[in-house]
């Protein structure tokens, strides 16, 4: 039993380290986007391989614990949850890399005005990822449920930004390439928020043993 506990603690520690790396990547990539900082974008892109390695390591650890200790009940749920959170985190890191690449592209076009809403949307998405991981650490289903509601705000921001970009592209055609980069960066941020939602749902499953995925009212169709 001691061994299982030690392994679980180790696993927990590694997931949170991965989470720390991922959060840092989102932060840097969005900063790179908002402040046109190519150096930060390059850092994010370089960090991706470390995240990939961490993901593989965590997955192996999970499988090892499953095979060696054959955990039941809460422990089993936690392992299952870690497996999924691990996956989501890695995807979030990939999206951060994509945002960094978009940021690099936008850096070359200083005339392009980055929509102001994007900053708020990024802040919201970052807050969601952080909140989801906090809920995971504290096994706090309440906090996780509160986060689920934020996703709608992110989606709304996403639509507003896309509207703004459309107007811009109609007005000034020379800004279209940069606007397209910005458009996909926005999409990536939106996807990050979705992954944060997944993590929050996993946390609810972890605490309450109830799968809440697909049970919420379906979000309004994106444009």
């Amino acid at each position: 039993m001691k061994h299982l506990q030690r392994d679980m603690e180790q696993l927990h520690r590694h997931v949170l380290a991965l989470s720390a790396m991922t959060e840092e990547m989102i932060d840097k990539s969005t900063q790179a986007l908002g402040e046109r900082r190519e150096d930060l974008a390059a850092e994010v892109i370089a960090a991706d391989s470390a995240v990939d390695q961490a993901e593989v390591q965590i997955e192996e650890e999970c499988l090892k614990i499953l095979a060696l200790h054959q955990p039941v009940a809460a422990d089993l749920r936690r392992i299952a949850c870690v497996l999924k959170v691990n996956n989501d985190l890695e995807r979030i890191a990939d999206l951060a890399v994509s945002i960094a690449q978009r940021a690099q592209a936008i850096c070359h076009d200083p005339d392009f005005p980055i929509p102001e809403l994007l900053g708020r949307m990024v802040a919201l998405a970052t807050q969601m990822v952080r909140g989801a991981m906090d809920a995971f650490v504290n096994s706090d289903a309440q906090a996780a449920r509160r986060l689920l509601r934020l996703d709608d705000d992110v989606d709304q921001h996403n639509r507003d930004i896309i509207d703004e970009l459309q107007t811009l592209m109609q007005q000034e055609s020379r800004l279209v390439p940069a606007a397209l980069h910005c458009f996909s960066a926005t999409r990536h941020v939106e996807r990050i928020a979705d992954h944060a939602t997944n993590i929050a749902e996993d946390v609810i499953y972890l605490v309450e043993g109830e799968i809440v995925r697909h049970t919420r009212t379906a979000p309004v169709d994106r444009k």
């Binding site: 927990h12 840092e24 908002g34 102001e116 991981m133």
Partner: protein, 699 residues
């Protein structure tokens, strides 16, 4: 082995009671069995006598001596009982163990004398005259037709009965002695088992009370004692501050008081009563004191003092002094623990108070990366909120990698590590941290000190930018001047068409350089607070009108409408006239520069409470939100290329800001890209006097 007095007491009671029991038993047994045996023997002899009487009755009547002798002789061969037949006068007719003829008259023998009486039975125990040993005699009178015809007497040696008794008695006594020995051994074992731990406890408690808080009673002495002495006065000072005992504790005090009165009452009842009562209270109190010791509750000081006061009376009872010793030792321990505890508490509070007031975040982590201690600043810097964090893993609470890396580094290498990092999230802070391993091997943990250097770094950046900007701004006109001069030298000097133009350019660039230097000096003076302002009442209208007039030409050249909208009543502000002029000129100049052709610049001012508000509104390119806060910084340009092209020094708004601040006002901006900007300056109003009209009429 030396035994304590308690041991001897308990052992004495147990062993003594066993011996007493055995003695009583033996006395009762011996005293009871002897008469029983004797009466049994007598009864048996009596029965034999009756049988003999029946047997010899006939022969006795006939006085047939031979028949009698035969009968008794026969009995002799089969029993050890001596049978004697006497005639009525006591003459021996027959005897189983002797010759009747030689025997004296037995009529005077006590048993025969007794048998002659009405009862007809005589019993006697005496030494036989004939055989010289103790015999038991039983005599019966023999009657025939109501007439005494003789006596039969039977006798038996008394000794065999005694002998038969003595061997079981010996066995019994031996057995008894053995049982006694076993009982004594058992009492010894049981008493030792009870007393030994008590003894040890007592000794340890006394050593502890004398020697301080060191376990196992190592010779500690002076240091801890001196500490106790040191703490005692503090304790005395502190005790009034300790809150009054709450209700349950007061109840405990009352209970103790009631017990004390119980003791004194019992004492008056009698020695025994007092003894039991004080024993009971002593043990009760020991138990309650021990409870207090475990709780280590300083609030219990009150009750403890009460028990100390009553200690003397029960000590004098002198019963079970081990328990009394134990109790007093515990009292001393409790006093010293209380004193040390409150000393620790106050020093702890001092430390916590210091930590709380620190601006630096302090964080102590144990070897397992759990938070052992964190101060308020630490919580704030790491955004931990009010949650309970002590005892939790750092990696659960914050995902700042720098912090965890520093922990790992300090823990593994043992060297202090310093790092600077930026926190993530909406509000970015630049933090420096210093992590040092706590002493010990492999290390008790890591102490981390965090320092917020956001403002410091921002100022550093500002200064660096300023130096870079200033050198850049100075270099640009110089480069132009150099280029034109070079062109002239290389032949353009004689180019009549262009040489005039080149010299004009050189002049322009020199003017710009001059302006820049003037602005820099101006700014430096305002900023350093060295410039002496002539603070007076300044009429805004005069200054705005002058400024509008001065800029009319440049506005007209770009087809910009420059207008002023004065309020109904004239407004005076309290400021330096030259300074206000600079403020208005800079704002208007700025507005004209960033407004495309055909735009409009409006200057308006109004009174708002105790302030005058001056607004310069344009329909220019506007400023994006992220730049708005920074446009007042020196050399900050939203769009570097455009601004320089327009001939600005990059210092205008910085000068405005510093001047306004020097006059006790504020400056703000409202802007929307592509729509226009409004710069708003708030200045303090001049106190209302009659001079306003003079100023107003002043051209």
């Amino acid at each position: 082995m030396r035994f304590s007095r308690l041991y001897w007491k308990l052992f004495g009671v147990a062993a003594g009671s066993a011996i007493a029991l055995a003695v009583v038993f033996a006395v009762v047994l011996i005293g009871g069995v002897r008469p029983l045996l004797a009466s049994l023997a007598q009864q048996r002899l009596q029965d034999v006598a009756v049988a003999l009487r029946t047997l010899v009755e006939g022969a006795l009547k006939d006085n047939d001596r031979d028949a009698l002798q035969r009968a008794v002789g026969e009995l002799r061969t089969h029993t050890r009982i001596r049978c004697t037949v006497l005639d009525a006068n006591g003459i021996v007719l027959a005897d189983s163990h002797g010759d009747p003829r030689e025997m004296a008259n037995h009529g005077d023998r006590p048993e025969v004398v007794a048998a002659r009486s009405k009862a007809g039975v005589g019993v006697s125990r005496r030494e036989s005259d004939t055989l010289g040993v103790e015999f038991l005699y039983v005599a019966l009178r023999v009657d025939r037709e109501r007439r005494l015809i003789g006596y039969v007497r039977v006798a038996e040696e008394a000794r065999p009965a005694q002998a038969a008794w003595s061997s079981p008695l010996a066995i019994g006594l031996g057995l008894g002695a053995a049982v006694l020995a076993v009982a004594a051994g058992l009492s010894h074992v049981i008493v030792r088992r009870v007393v030994d731990p008590l003894e040890q406890l007592c000794e340890q408690a006394e050593r502890f009370a004398d020697g301080g808080a060191h376990r196992g009673g190592e010779a500690t002495g002076p240091k801890s004692r001196s500490m106790e002495r040191e703490l005692r006065p503090q304790f005395g000072e502190l005790s009034p501050a300790i809150p009054a005992p709450d209700v349950p504790k007061r109840a405990a005090v009352e209970r103790l008081a009631a017990e004390r009165t119980g003791v004194s009452r019992a004492a008056s009842d009698g020695v025994d009563g007092a003894r039991t009562a004080s024993v009971r209270t002593a043990s009760d109190r020991t138990a309650s004191d021990r409870g207090g010791f475990e709780n280590a509750d300083p609030d219990r000081v009150g009750p403890t003092r009460e028990t100390s006061a009553s200690a003397g009376s029960s000590r004098s009872a002198g019963v079970l002094e081990e328990l009394t010793r134990l109790r007093s030792a515990f009292e001393r321990i409790q006093d010293s623990v209380d004193a040390q505890w409150s000393g620790l508490r106050s020093s702890n509070e001092r430390l916590l108070g210091m930590m709380r007031s620190m601006e630096e975040g302090v964080l102590a982590l144990d070897a397992d990366e759990r938070i052992a201690l964190i101060n308020e600043a630490g919580r704030r810097l790491l955004e931990m909120g009010d949650a309970e964090v002590v005892g939790r893993h750092l990696w659960e609470l914050t995902r700042l990698r720098a912090l965890r890396d520093a922990f790992a580094e300090a823990m593994t290498t043992g060297r202090a590590s310093a790092k600077e990092f930026e926190t993530t999230g909406a509000e970015r802070h630049v933090l420096t941290l210093r992590a040092a391993r706590l002493p010990g091997d492999p290390g008790l943990g890591v102490m981390v000190v965090l320092h917020d250097v956001t403002e410091l770094r921002r100022l550093e950046n500002l200064r660096r930018d300023f130096v870079a900007n200033v050198s850049h701004e100075l270099k640009t006109p110089l480069a132009s001047i150099k280029a034109y001069a070079e062109t002239l030298r290389l032949g353009a000097l004689h180019d009549v068409e262009n040489n005039q133009l080149f010299v004009t350019r050189i002049e322009e660039q020199a003017d710009r350089l001059h302006q820049l230097i003037i602005d820099l000096l101006h700014l430096a003076r305002v900023e350093s607070g060295q410039q002496a302002f002539d603070i007076a009442e300044v009429c805004l209208r005069t200054i705005v009108d002058a400024s509008v007039a001065a800029h009319a030409a440049s506005a007209a050249s770009r087809r910009i409408t420059l207008a002023s909208e004065p309020p109904a009543a004239p407004i005076d502000v309290l400021a330096d006239e030259e300074g206000v002029r600079t403020i208005v000129n800079n704002l208007v100049d700025n507005a004209i520069k960033y407004t495309p052709e055909g735009g409009k610049v409006t200057v308006r001012w109004r009174q708002d409470g105790g302030h005058a508000i001056l607004e310069v509104q344009d329909t220019g390119i506007g400023i994006a939100r992220q730049h708005q806060a920074r446009v007042f910084e020196r050399f900050y340009r939203v769009d570097k290329a455009r601004s320089r092209e327009l001939g600005g020094t990059g210092l205008g708004l910085a000068i405005v800001k510093h001047l306004v601040q020097a006059f006790g006002g504020s400056v703000g901006i409202e802007s929307q890209p592509r729509v226009g900007s409004t710069f708003r300056v708030t200045l303090p109003l001049a106190p209302p006097t009659g001079s306003a009209d003079d100023n107003f009429t002043d051209p």
